[in-house]
């Protein structure tokens, strides 16, 4: 179609416009394709390398190396294993070098230069480490106080992200890396160092799942006496001693119980006998009491009879005295003294006659008789008194005997129960002893599960983070690219519409001649298609060329062999076809709508006036009224400009947010962490150093909604006296305080119930979030150390973490990790350095996009207003006034775009940023410092002023005769 000849001329006439658009497409597609292509190159290189070098399906570590039989058993089940033992040794410039022996089957070494170490005293180094320390093949390096000759440099697929610990935020390639020595050399290291990590890599053949393998490893028997690590051996000894003590204690308890049972049996027998005896005693005392009662009843009679006899005798004596002529009367009370007196009187006289002698004899006989009777009477009295007392005593005895009987029955019953109980106890003790022994034998063996860690390749950030990092870049780039291409396609359509408007009468004429819409549509779409297609091809080509540049950061940070270029078909489709398709769609819709006007209206240059154009502006001043009318007349151009500026500002906010986020992370790490050293101990000392603060740390995993996977979270038990944290730990059981880092990363908030998992133990722990505190470093969840010990079944004084403001003197073998604030800050700064290039690129792109979009659209709107501008020039308006009227309108759009786009962009970035840093083990917010906003506004205003200056020059060129040229 001859009409198409004008396309090239149109292009030549408006080369600035179309050139700028083409530049935007080439530039943005170049960036997008290079970013996405870099990802594909990284993925391809890593996948190829992983396949070639037999990347593991996972790895695990054990206390005691597996036996050959165990390895064979695992292999039969479907898990091929290879030892990847290592020892961390001091390397060059205070670095740590993790030394492995050469690998044969899994995670094999991809040499980049030189050869593998095959002699004692040789080592092959990870390539970045060698480069960072300026070590070349053939040179020597001191590792663990021994000199090694470097035979080669290379990479291994299980350390593409060379981090010391799987949960480390970033790799520090100068401070930590890996090296490989020959088997003989490694055996020497094994012999000399007790801090060997017995790590194994595994590959599954499809018949066994990772879970099944883990279960099998947990069940695998091992000889705990062969635990080489002295600290672990200490732990085993302590546990073993405790187990023996427990076992001995239970035996003593059982013996004691047996004795108790015997004793209580004897007691039972005795108490039964006592009860019987007490029964007999009670009967006897009853009878006795009864007999004594009867005796007591005759006591008075007896006493009276005795008294009567005695009185009779007194009377008889008195009668005798009378008979013998003595005028003496005696009584029962005085007879003895009276008779003694008589005898004494008679005996003292001189008369010694028979009569006297007879009298004396009679008196003595009388006295003797009376004494005898008196003694009988008193004896009887004493007897009856005794009988009475006996009766009274026998009554008490009887009552006591009854009580004794009752008591003895109770005692017997009690003794019986006790005996039965102790018999049961004894019998139960046997069972208890048996069960305790079983418990000790069975359950206390859990302490000796050989498996320490089990990590599937998919959860190992040393393996995954390179690809996932790249994937985030790729996804973001592809989405951003599609948005920018759509914007550019729309901008092109706006320019095409401008052309259509300008040539409206010609188009009307063509319609009049018989052209149909389809032909004109095709014609008007050719130019946008050509521009987009050519730019897309160039941009895509440029993107592929830039891959090398783009991938530099990735290559410098991650450890994998030299990359190989790939040209994935989807990227060619994305880079070339998608922009064309977007342009076809957008331009078709817009141009088709424009060309659907009736020919006559086109001929008459009739324009659809937007309803907004008729808005009532009331009593507004002329300048503002004119500007607003102009804005509404060019509403399509202004809306397009708004979106263009919006995207540019979105990019700008993104760039500043990355900058702010990483800067804030660097600053917060330095300010939030108050200890200088944190020692995570594999084998805690029995007594912690006095100058350190104890804590308890466990690593659990939490579901990460951002990736659909899991991420490690550090649960740290601290006490109220911990000087490095100033938040209170009181609260309910299982209450935790989380760092803002965790809150950001996982989207947790106060009051949430969260579940953290121990994948090795297959256990879940539920917590309730009590508070969120500032703590940027890592992903920490804090709780009361006592509750944590209880929750994790640890001793009351257990700890495995020490915090200090100075370096502690701890045996290296006990330490799992030392975290220092300096290291954390250095790692954060490294992240900052890595991101810096990206930030500059994004900001540069945003400013360029902002300027080009603004220039093109403002110029187009000015072009459309050429007639009016010419007219008001004719009226006598000067340059300044014309600028005020026309460029002032642009200010409204720029100001509105800025005011809306900055906060909205910030909200959008806030939402998507977590996804972009989802694999970073720290919660990072899209933070923007207040000064960043000011800088951004300054950039926008400066760009606006520059563009205005350029457009101002164009305004000057509009001649007064335009009005005549455009007369029709």
């Amino acid at each position: 179609m001859i009409l198409n000849k004008r396309i090239i001329r149109e292009l030549k006439e408006n080369w600035v416009r179309y050139g700028a658009l083409a530049f935007l497409i080439i530039f943005s597609l170049g960036l997008v394709v290079s970013m996405a292509g870099s990802t594909d190159v990284v993925n391809y290189t890593i996948d190829t390398n992983n396949e070639k070098n037999q990347l593991e399906d996972g790895e695990f570590s054990v206390y005691v190396p597996l036996t050959k039989n165990q390895q064979m058993e695992l292999e039969k089940m479907g898990a091929k294993t290879e030892a990847a033992f290592y020892v961390d040794l001091p390397g060059a410039e205070k670095s740590v070098l993790r030394v492995f022996k050469n690998r044969n089957n899994i995670n094999t070494i991809a040499l980049e230069e030189g050869s593998l170490a095959d002699q004692i005293g040789e080592i092959a180094l990870e390539k970045h480490y060698a480069e960072k320390h300026g070590i070349r093949v053939g040179q020597s390096i001191e590792v663990g106080q021994k000199n090694y000759q470097v035979t080669g440099t290379g990479t291994v697929p299980d350390y593409s992200n060379v981090v010391q610990n799987v949960s480390d935020v970033l790799a520090d390639l100068k401070q930590f890396s890996i090296g490989f020595v020959a088997e003989a050399e490694f055996n020497q290291l094994l012999a000399g160092d007790s801090n060997i990590e017995y790590n194994y890599s595994y590959k599954l053949d499809g018949n066994l799942t990772a879970t099944e393998l883990k279960e099998k490893l947990v069940d695998l028997d091992f000889d705990k006496t062969k635990v080489a690590n002295k600290y672990m051996q200490e732990i085993i000894n302590t546990i073993e001693k405790g187990k023996n003590d427990l076992s001995g204690g239970v035996k003593d308890l059982a013996d004691g119980t047996q004795k108790l049972a015997n004793g209580t049996s004897a007691l039972q027998q005795g108490s039964n006998e006592l009860a019987d005896g007490a029964g007999s005693l009670a009967n006897g005392t009853d009878q006795l009491s009864s007999g004594l009662g009867e005796l007591t009843n005759s006591n008075a009679t007896l006493n009276k009879a005795a008294d009567d006899v005695f009185q009779g005798m007194i009377a008889q004596v008195n009668s005798e005295f009378e008979n013998i002529g003595m005028t003496v009367t005696v009584t029962g009370d005085n007879y003895s003294s009276v008779i003694d007196s008589l005898i004494k009187t008679i005996d003292g006289s001189d008369a010694n006659t028979v009569e006297v002698l007879n009298t004396l004899n009679t008196l003595n006989t009388m006295k003797a008789q009376l004494d005898s009777y008196k003694a009988f009477k008193e004896g009887l009295r004493a007897y009856t008194n005794g009988v009475e007392s006996a009766y009274s005593g026998s009554a008490e005895l009887s009552a006591g005997a009854d009580s004794l009987y009752q008591g003895s029955v109770t005692l017997a019953n009690g003794a019986n129960t006790l005996s039965n109980g102790s018999a049961s106890l004894n019998s139960g003790m046997g069972e208890f002893k048996s069960q305790v022994t079983n418990f000790i034998n069975e359950n206390m063996d859990y302490q000796y599960v050989n498996l320490i860690t089990f990590l599937e390749a998919g959860d190992n950030q040393r393996i995954t983070s390179c690809k996932s990092d790249a994937a985030i870049n790729k996804n973001s780039a592809l989405i951003a690219g599609a948005i920018i291409i759509t914007l550019i396609a729309y901008m092109i359509s706006v320019f095409v519409i401008h052309t259509i408007d300008k040539e409206s009468a010609v188009i009307g004429a063509l319609y009049s001649m018989g052209y149909v819409k389809k032909e004109l549509l095709r014609h008007f779409m050719i130019l946008p298609m050509l521009i987009v297609a050519a730019s897309a091809i160039l941009g895509t080509g440029l993107g592929f060329v830039l891959i090398g540049e783009n991938i530099k950061e990735n290559v410098a940070y991650y450890s994998y062999p030299g990359y190989a270029m790939v040209f994935p078909p989807y990227l060619l489709i994305y880079g070339v076809l998608l922009p064309v398709m977007i342009a076809v769609l957008v331009n078709y819709l817009v141009i088709n709508s424009k060309l659907s006007m009736e020919p006559l209206k086109l001929l008459r240059r009739e324009k659809k006036q937007h309803q907004l154009a008729n808005i009532d502006l009331k009593e507004m001043g002329f300048i503002n009224r004119y500007r607003i009318r102009q804005l509404l007349r060019e509403i399509r151009g202004n809306i397009t400009m708004f979106w263009g500026l919006f995207i540019a500002i979105l990019l700008m906010v993104f760039g500043f947010s990355i900058y702010g986020s990483v800067s804030a992370y660097v600053n917060n790490v330095a300010s939030d962490v108050e200890y200088n050293y944190l020692y995570l101990l594999k084998y805690p000392m029995e007594t912690a150093p006095n100058d350190a603060t104890k804590a308890y740390t466990e690593s659990l995993t939490a579901d990460l909604y951002l990736t659909g996977g899991e991420m490690d979270v550090t649960v740290q038990g601290i006490d109220d006296k911990n000087p490095y944290f100033d938040f209170p730990l009181d609260g309910e059981k299982n209450d935790v305080i989380i760092s803002d880092s965790v809150a950001n990363k996982f989207g947790y908030k106060v009051g949430d119930e969260i579940t953290l998992s121990d994948n090795l133990e297959d256990r879940n722990y539920n917590f309730r979030i009590k508070e969120v505190v500032n703590f940027a470093s890592g992903l920490y969840v804090f709780m009361d150390i006592k509750e944590m010990r209880e929750l994790f079944g640890q001793e009351d004084d257990y700890y495995n973490t020490l915090m200090s403001d100075h370096e502690l003197d701890i045996e290296a073998g006990r330490i799992a990790t030392v975290i220092t604030v300096d290291k954390m800050v250095a790692a954060a700064r490294q992240m900052f350095t890595m991101m810096y290039g990206l930030v500059i690129t994004i900001l540069g792109a945003s400013v360029l996009l902002f300027a080009i979009v603004m220039y093109l659209l403002v110029k187009m709107m000015i072009d459309k207003s050429t007639f009016s501008i010419s007219l008001i020039k004719v009226f006598g308006y000067n340059e300044r006034e014309i600028k005020k009227l026309y460029l002032g309108t642009t200010f409204y759009t720029v100001a509105l775009s800025t005011l809306i786009a900055i906060p909205v962009s910030k909200m959008i970035i806030n939402k998507i940023y977590p996804y972009m840093v989802s694999n970073v083990s720290a919660g990072m917010n899209a933070t923007m410092a207040p000064q960043s906003y000011l800088i951004m506004v300054a950039i926008i205003l400066s760009t606006y002023v520059i563009v205005n200056f350029m457009i101002g020059r164009h305004l000057k060129k509009i001649s007064l005769v335009e009005i005549l040229k455009e007369r029709e």
Partner: protein
């Protein structure tokens, strides 16, 4: 009758802005005739031309061109009708600015399978030496000649001319009228010319005067003046 216009009515707007532009126009034009439509501004003459050209619709009545009732045609059919039957000449030429003279003519050559000889046409219209020029490099008369060539290249049966000399000076106008006359004689093209120029009425076969939406005068000239003889 090549063109049959029967009682056509056409109005614009509603309510207060309602205007009836054509109030029942009926006329007919034979094939090969040149017909001038005269009348004051706003009389409805351009509207009549546009409805015959299928550019504008009518409220009622019928328009038959070569026995085709064009008022019943849809947009596509109207395009086809214009493509097959019509050539248009406008007051302001409406040339494609970034195509040369020859290319502008070729734009319409594309629309037909049996175009006239473009070089002959260029020669007839005196454009041979200007054929590589762009419209902006031509005078108004030259541009209009180019527009005529563009309209004629597909050898249309009906040429509709809307104020073809309206933007031209006397001499250029005279040249254009002479060309129109020449083309009519050479190709037998039926022509409808809407014009303010009353002098034209003397060189055309038929004159239709419109006033206030109605035909006020409709007559045929028995004797025609040559365009070169016209004075105004």
């Amino acid at each position: 009758m090549f063109i049959e216009v029967n009682d056509i009515k056409k109005s614009y707007g509603e309510g207060g802005s309602y205007v009836q532009v054509l109030k029942g126009v009926t006329t007919g034009i034979e094939k090969g005739q040149i017909c001038a439509i005269l009348g004051p501004s706003g009389s409805g003459k351009s509207t009549l031309l546009n409805t015959i050209g299928g550019l504008d619709t009518i409220d009622s009545g019928s328009i038959k061109i070569s026995n085709i009732e064009i008022t019943k045609l849809n947009a596509k059919q109207l395009s086809l009708y214009r493509r097959n039957y019509l050539g248009f000449i406008f007051q302001f030429y409406n040339l494609v600015p970034n195509l040369t003279v020859k290319e502008n003519i070729q734009v319409c050559e594309y629309l037909t399978k049996s175009p006239l000889d473009i070089n002959e046409l260029l020669e007839i219209l005196g454009l041979t030496e200007h054929q590589k020029k762009f419209p902006s490099q031509l005078s108004g008369g030259q541009q209009q000649r180019c527009a005529i060539a563009r309209a004629l290249i597909k050898n249309p049966e009906l040429l509709l001319c809307d104020e073809p000399t309206g933007a031209l000076d006397y001499q250029a106008s005279r040249e254009i009228l002479m060309l129109i006359e020449k083309i009519n004689q050479k190709y037998g093209t039926t022509m409808l010319i809407v014009t303010h120029n009353t002098a034209i009425k003397e060189m055309v076969h038929r004159v239709i005067k419109i006033k206030d939406g109605q035909i006020s005068e409709d007559y045929a000239n028995s004797v025609l003046k040559l365009a070169s003889q016209l004075e105004w």
